[in-house]
Symmetry: C2
Subunit: 179 residues, 2 copies
């Protein structure tokens, strides 16, 4: 799965091939074909791996105070310190754009989206928000919009600026509803 | 350009070909090849046409009260009454996802993004917001995130629910800063 991550960062999704993944993988192409029927099959497994990573990260932070969890989440989603993370987001945007035409992709993304949404709802509920599902939905949309928009326009600085605005949306909902 | 719009709604972007556009166009394929070198060339002209449409719409609404303009903008962006609009958004998501790998696409999307951003900044400034560029940036991101996320997951009802949350973000910024 590390080889798939590296190949996605290097080539994006549309231009990806099993050969290009094998080039990143020292155990060779035949082993990959042994396990996966084709590129799509491999991608679905890769998305399971992403889902597991997110789930693990969420459960690690379960006992951390909610405001720290919110910060951690925003930093993870919008931090973008490393070049490879930025390249990976470009490939991910391509994959999401295929979801409406590929039901298996759509299903995996729905699963990941639900996981992120539930985690965010849990955070804002702990922060005292009354309608956690609704606030979670708009926060996750804003985060994803900030990411997609700035990734499409290749504007890393712009994304960093938006991080504070999104924190503010969260803060406003929390403050407003607690008043 | 109407033929391009119809073909995009029907086939999406990745599967689109000049042939498929010609099928929607009663004047035939040879005329399309006479004007455009290839699919990409045609798409760039189509994006100019989108930009012109947005510019025209913005200037039509210039003298309308700002709160009505905001409503109009949100309805236009998130209304999604017709099936064809929804299909078109899927194709548009695919095209945006290609922007990081195609500088000509990125340039057109940057131009369209700037236009939308300026218009929104103008609206919120008229509504009395102090930092219109910043608030415009987060509003446009939230709108685009809501759209992209729900389009990728094919959840039209979910998009409709988010419309009210986005109105609330706008309202909160306006109320907060005017207090």
């Amino acid at each position: 799965m590390d080889a798939t991550y590296s190949a996605l960062c290097k080539h994006g999704y549309a231009d990806l091939s099993i050969q290009k993944i094998a080039d990143e993988f020292d155990k060779g192409k035949s082993l990959i074909y042994y396990h996966f029927d084709d590129k799509e099959d491999l991608m679905l497994t890769f998305m399971d791996y992403m889902a597991e990573y997110i789930e693990q990260r969420n459960s690690e932070l379960e006992n951390v105070p909610a405001d720290e969890r919110l910060d951690e989440f925003l930093n993870m989603a919008l931090g973008m310190q490393e070049d490879s993370q930025w390249e990976f987001q470009k490939a991910l945007l391509e994959m999401r754009a295929q979801a409406p035409y590929n039901e298996s992709f759509a299903e995996k993304f729905r699963e990941i989206d639900d996981m992120i949404l539930d985690n965010m709802a849990d955070i804002v509920q702990q922060l005292g928000v009354q309608r956690p599902e609704e606030v979670s939905d708009i926060l996750v949309s804003s985060i994803e919009g900030a990411m997609n928009r700035k990734v499409a326009l290749d504007d890393r600085e712009g994304l960093n600026n938006l991080k504070n605005s999104i924190k503010e949306i969260a803060r406003v909902h929390i403050v407003e509803e607690n008043d």
